[in-house]
């Protein structure tokens, strides 16, 4: 199958508030007032956690039947550990982004604990967002005049 290209266009709104436009959808991102924003939406690192947890939840639902899991319900809580000293440049040894991502899968299924554990291992390996973060893609950055 041919490769697919996904696209998001992010525009500045006011202050540090931005809007990400994808197909017919708009997503407001901002920072809390304490971080210099106006708190109109979640911030980008929270959006990243949403993307990861959303992907894990969808993959868990999508593959359950074919993997022999009788899944009644699933909820995923994602936590990210962040060191502000890395982002703010106060500690060159601290990471700029998340140093740890923890996903807690809340599972209601008619299967053994072992079957569920094995299935969640399958889910994280088949989750495109998880793979993108765990196995870095190639990055390319271009700068062009504003249009």
């Amino acid at each position: 199958m041919a490769k697919k290209i996904y696209k998001a266009t992010v525009s500045s709104v006011e202050g540090i508030e931005v809007n990400s436009h994808v197909r017919d959808f708009d997503f407001t991102l901002d920072e809390p007032i304490s971080s210099g924003g106006t708190n109109k939406g979640m911030n980008p690192v929270e959006a990243l956690l949403s993307a990861l947890g959303g992907c894990e939840t969808m993959v868990a639902k999508s593959f359950a039947k074919s993997q022999g899991i009788l899944l009644r319900n699933v909820k995923v809580e994602v936590q990210g550990e962040f060191d502000p000293d890395g982002y703010l440049g106060r500690n060159p040894d601290a990471k700029v982004g998340f140093s740890k991502l923890t996903s807690t899968f809340y599972i209601d299924a008619d299967n053994t604990e072992e079957e569920v554990e094995k299935y969640i291992d399958f889910v994280t390996k088949h989750c495109p967002v998880h793979d993108t973060i765990e196995n870095a893609p190639v990055f390319e950055d271009k700068v062009v005049p504003f249009e």
Copy 2:
């Protein structure tokens, strides 16, 4: 400064539609009808692109003044290259997630091309979402009973 913990709780809504709850914000994620969803929102890989572009735009705005950039406007278009054969398990050599992420920075600034290029290099290095994807964090996955 102490480490900060960010959190997103993702619940299944119906089919593969999910809701990510972060602080006071809710974010609907779904897939297009052609991919088995009901098209109520962007999908998780598009949310990941939004998080990356949103972070790059905010960082570009936040550090401009202190880096001597007279930034009038900024827009970031992020494209991700995805091979469905990797996700669907049809090609074990294909990546499950994005193989390439391209950010195009549209910049309106009262600076030389060289100054702007150097600044965007600074922005990508100081962007927490960019760093999280480029330099993989530690992952931990837990499975617990649904509550």
